[in-house]
Point group: C2
Chain length 559, copies 2
């Protein structure tokens, strides 16, 4: 599937991240030099039964492994770094990232046993690095995690700008301003192609500032008569900082609960991205020693994840923290599509415990804003960069298309805009662009330790099993004597509860016996025919009786 | 679980519909007379694998079958009528409903073979019926299906008012005004307890009028350069009427596509709830004979349901209708929580086909409004009825609690408000109310034809099977000789793809052999021990190697 490249052209494509939210991985190749931007994971869709995570298919990179100069990481979110250790296991190349980003990556590499052998290069917004023919520089952006950058890749064919994930927040927390001057300067020097974040291309207007959330939090903390529980994304260090500010302003102490929240608070304070006043943090065990209106519990679980701290508290199964009547629980996040029901159930349980719950879309609750720019911000980026060509990235197909429309609206010629699927390439040569051939791209499904071994057949079987279960039919035959020696024994898992379905299963057994006897009388005794006939006869009978189609697994033994 | 009742008290409770959206069934019992309001279904939650629908547990009604005087239906939505044929199969009582409601019910009864034996009683907003000691009357409401009513049940203990599903729409389509005068009159006569719809208790303000949608549709029809495709809920006859109006105003013809849309259009026109101008409807096959700007395709699939008309068109697998570049597709519905991803995927496919798509929350798209009243309308109902007691119904627990708060806000004493779980009763006697004992209530899960036979064990097995599949291990032993005669044969379904995992399965086989030989050497030969040991040893090995836990089913045969 991969193609030979001439030595004088630029190739830009995604191995993940277009036509989907997640597993971001973009490739910029000039001649024999490849730079990869990001290496993310995606969480499984609902039909990927039993799958833990999904990562990009990197066959193209493996086939061109001698050309890959490095992986540049824009920021430390899972959809940008979560696939990294899987990629590095097969492709040992240097990784470039800012301080917090590398801090978060190091934890993952340590877990995967790759920390020692991976070359990690610290960059900041002023770094300039040379990766073969490609000069890479950076610019600060606003996003829902500190130390996020956009990337400018200067090639002999022209400049490629990748925005990373961004919004424009004019009053950011902790002073991480988007570097408008530098972005404008890059635009002024001339940009061949812009790759820009499409997450909020469906949303009109501007995304509000993270500062708004801080004010809303402080207000809620003041009013809360008893304890305050705040659940948010662990990686949203800005949000965590504002919880700390609000706690300080209202004279409360904070207990941090939930593994990933504890982890991020520790890494981010260590690296200087989170400022925690002396004596502000208490242990969860100490919560009950303080007056209720002196306490904040900061935790994970804003998406209703089954094993998270907030979910456990809501179900009264958390080891250390109970929700008490009169507590104020603030869910400082909007449910990600697909998680609404989980969040809803958590809120229900919290209400049952007598808590006052602040929840719902950020526009209603006031305690969440998106980390991605809305339509007007996307247009601002397009206007600052003024690219010749435009490739919307980081979004479902509809978002890419709407973002493409915004590109047209600000004056980019329709023929200069490329909406891509993963693996579809754009070739630039002598200032012109055209669609190139497709490279291999797709989902690699990871279940447990295995990589790549959960294919369509396994998934199809899981789907069938999940719908109506399985019936195993065991029979021992003597083909010589043409008779059944033992069985049929029928074992049901996930089809019917045996004690309640004895009649049905007895009858099923008779059908198996009848089918086999008839075939043996007719001297049909190839295994395949016997098995197929048993499956067909039994399947038909069970469907008639129950309108269900369990998987049927005949095990016919011969003695 | 059911309780003996004294003969002089009123009992009110839900068998379904509180703490959930769906399977509405409310019970009003005075002395020996029981009136049931609604008999709905619920669609399965994501952990109810393989389940088709969920209906209420009606044990209480069956135990008191001689007291049940009838089932009154408020309107024809599935969450109010979808459980009816299951209930009537076990409890043959009269059913009361308005014309359209009965029309929709009759289709269901016919399918279930119950049409002949079911007494169906047509009511209208002016009907008065006596069901034992309970006098039942009705009032018109606005909702997203015509012929919706609220119910007033006058008992010797006082009046119970059940709102049904409602909003207040001052400019309704087809003139179905909510009867404010009658509702106010009922309030003026004095109401003991109000049961009121909580669906939109989380939403501030007022729900916009259905008329707004009509205007938005007409506007879009005018602007559309080519064909218009509109997907909406089949049962929303008002919406369908507005599509017809907009088509008329813009000189377009309508092709109706999708089984339930065809069905509802036919029943509703026949019964006079839908007014279709002569010559307006065309067959789907005729679409291509007309100019593109003269066509509207009205179809199902607004929730991205996999088998629906719109989903098939979007995937280019519909037999009769293709989406063409330049078509305008209007999704006139907000995704129900849980369906966002399905709708998103449909929109993506439509974009890929080159369609212009109008979608998203009604507040953004303008082509959908809710059929349920928001907070201000809920307060209006509370103010019109001025009940002594208040039971919020029809909603998830959080919605009931927020509705209860609205009740307090308008002046109902907190001790007069009851937030219930299904089966929790309120007893009224001599004008006082208190919580009574609990009656049996719960979910009955229906998979195929069976009723009640998919219990926790079957669901747990399906869950396990869906995660990591199953391994069947077949061995034939001679216990006498203490040796394995054949096998172990290992069959994988949904665990690994056998061709890619030969090494793993070979090793697994050796572990089974080793385990069995060791046990037989030790003269352990009870079936149970052999099976458990094989399961444990194999499970441990596979988890170490793969971090997965397939179900393991050892089949050990003895000869």
């Amino acid at each position: 599937m991969s193609k030979k490249n001439d030595t004088d052209k630029l190739l830009v494509f995604a191995l993940g991240g277009v036509g989907e939210i997640g597993k971001n991985m973009y490739v910029v190749q000039y001649a024999d030099d490849i730079v990869v931007v990001d290496a993310g994971l995606k969480f499984p869709e609902e039909d990927m039964l039993g799958i833990d995570i999904v990562i990009p298919d990197i066959s193209y990179l493996l086939e061109n492994r001698d050309k890959v100069r490095g992986i540049v990481i824009t920021h430390g979110h899972e959809d940008h770094i979560g696939g990294l250790s899987y990629v590095l296991k097969e492709l040992n190349v240097p990784v470039y990232g800012t301080k917090l980003t590398l801090g978060l990556i190091e934890g993952k590499l340590k877990e995967a046993g790759l920390l020692g052998e991976t070359r990690r290069e610290l960059i900041n917004a002023d770094s300039q690095i040379e990766l073969g023919n490609i000069q890479v520089s950076f610019f600060k952006t606003n996003h829902s995690i500190p130390d996020s950058v956009g990337v400018c890749l200067d090639t002999p064919e022209g400049s490629v700008v990748h925005t990373g994930d961004f919004k424009f927040d004019y009053t950011p927390v902790n002073g991480q301003y988007a570097d408008l001057q530098r972005i404008a300067g890059i635009g002024q020097r001339g940009v061949l192609v812009l790759l820009s974040d499409s997450t909020n291309a469906e949303r009109p207007g501007y995304t509000p500032s993270e500062k708004n959330v801080g004010e809303a939090l402080e207000d809620l903390f003041y009013k809360a008569p008893q304890r305050v529980v705040v659940a948010t994304f662990a990686s949203n260090v800005h949000r965590v900082q504002q919880v700390i500010h609000a706690a300080e302003a209202t004279n409360r102490k904070i207990a941090v609960v939930g593994r990933s929240m504890v982890n991020v608070v520790s890494i981010a304070s260590e690296l200087g991205y989170l400022h925690v006043p002396e004596g502000m943090l208490i242990e969860p065990e100490e919560v009950n020693k303080l007056a209720a209106d002196r306490v904040v519990i900061l935790c994970t679980g804003s998406q209703g994840e089954p094993m998270s701290a907030l979910t456990r508290m809501a179900r009264s199964t958390h080891r250390k923290v109970d929700i008490l009547p009169g507590d104020t629980v603030i869910i400082a996040a909007t449910p990600i599509p697909g998680n609404e029901r989980y969040v809803g159930r958590t809120v229900d349980e919290l209400f049952r415990l007598g808590a006052h719950v602040v929840y719902g879309p950020g526009s209603v609750s006031g305690v969440h804003v998106s980390g991605h720019g809305s339509q007007e911000e996307l247009k601002l980026m397009l206007n600052l960069i003024k690219p010749k060509y435009f490739i919307p990235i980081h979004g479902e197909y509809r978002m890419l298309r709407l973002h493409a429309q915004l590109g047209e609206d600000v004056g980019i010629d329709r023929s200069h805009i490329f909406v891509l699927e993963n693996g579809e390439t754009v070739e630039f040569r002598d200032g012109d662009a055209r669609r190139g051939s497709k490279v291999q791209a797709g989902n690699v499904l990871i279940d447990g330790l295995g990589v790549g071994d959960v294919g369509n057949i396994v998934l199809r079987d899981r789907k069938l099993l999940s719908q109506d279960g399985i019936l195993v039919v065991v029979v021992t035959l003597s083909k010589q004597e043409g008779m059944i020696l033992s069985g049929p024994d029928i074992i049901s898992r996930g089809f019917v509860y045996v004690r309640e379905a004895e009649g049905l299963l007895d009858e099923a057994g008779k059908i198996v016996t009848g089918t086999l006897n008839r075939l043996m009388n007719d001297k049909v005794n190839e295994w395949a025919s016997l098995k197929t006939s048993v499956k067909d006869a039994l399947g038909r009978y069970l469907y008639e009786q129950t309108r269900r189609r369990p998987m049927i697994l005949p095990i016919i033994m011969e003695v």
